[in-house]
Symmetry: C2
Subunit: 189 residues, 2 copies
């Protein structure tokens, strides 16, 4: 009998804990090592409790993705709204949103988890692709972008991937320098 069972019911808290536990476990052990039992235990619930909130593993992952994409969209919206310089504004917001874990610490891990799991699942892949094109259309960037802008965008993706994998082990100082450099370049598009 779990001690939490006797506590006051807080379904929203439990649901959030389950999503966060899922994200953390994917980040730490990888998607292939993710089990419902482990997620439930980490979130302090039983597997039955987990299934009550998320009917299947697939649904759990899809909900997690939805959550992440929503937060990510807010990042970009906020950065664009606060940016007075129109030139390169979208790319700037794109880059910044990738590297601001401090402002919204809860979702920093979710970003990384999302990239790891999205690869081969068709439903999740569609979620991500649709979201991306909706963002572009929303901010009027659907027309062809200059090569330099695309390069900056891809560089942000690459640096972010490096942070996920830790292969090259960029130091925090180097990381800051690169991000600053990318941001600076967006003013010269």
């Amino acid at each position: 009998m779990n001690v939490n069972y006797r506590k006051k019911k807080q379904p929203e808290v439990v649901r959030a804990a389950l999503l966060e536990a899922t994200a953390e476990m994917i980040v730490e052990k990888g998607l292939n090592a993710l089990t419902l039992d482990a997620v439930a235990e980490r979130a302090g619930v039983s597997k039955g409790g987990l299934i009550h909130h998320f009917a299947s593993k697939q649904i759990l992952l899809e909900e997690l993705n939805r959550e992440i994409l929503g937060e990510y969209g807010k990042f970009i919206d906020d950065y664009i709204a606060a940016d007075p310089e129109p030139r390169g504004r979208f790319i700037r917001a794109y880059i910044r949103s990738f590297f601001t874990p401090l402002k919204y610490p809860a979702t920093s891990k979710l970003f990384k988890a999302f990239a790891l799991e999205m690869s081969h699942d068709e439903a999740i892949h569609k979620l991500c692709a649709d979201w991306y094109w909706a963002i572009l259309e929303k901010h009027g960037e659907q027309e062809h972008q200059p090569l330099k802008a695309q390069m900056l965008q891809f560089a942000a993706d690459g640096l972010w991937m490096e942070e996920c994998t830790g292969l090259i082990s960029v130091s925090p100082a180097e990381r800051e320098a690169i991000i600053d450099y990318l941001i600076q370049q967006t003013y010269e598009l």
Copy 2:
């Protein structure tokens, strides 16, 4: 009883077929959906035959990883050897090697599987990290690189990741244009 059992033994061919089948299945279905039975069937051997060549699933993946890293390393070596311009030579080779078709056709997407999905496997992660630093040291690039060079490198990573995931769906023409642009930038370091 498999017909191949009665045929002439060709262990090297079987071994290569197993590696290729593994690569293809990871690309198609993802690492979490990879099973030894399926790999064996696709390669036209029994599971026993698979285990004879690769004692465990872990070893199979490590060997495949070694094969792929070796190919990339050769690409980089060749590109550097054939490049008369010393300025930005390493970055140029790095970029080109990423977009050169590999021995196993399906493996263009495969490196992503190792970089992302397998980044949690300690042994394979070490393989990749060691390979990367060995390449840097080999070509005398271990000292601090300028920010622009790092940016180009990350941009190559990002474009390559996009090719793996297919999220943004870059057209072949756009792809070529971006690669050319990146290469061109390496001459202005």
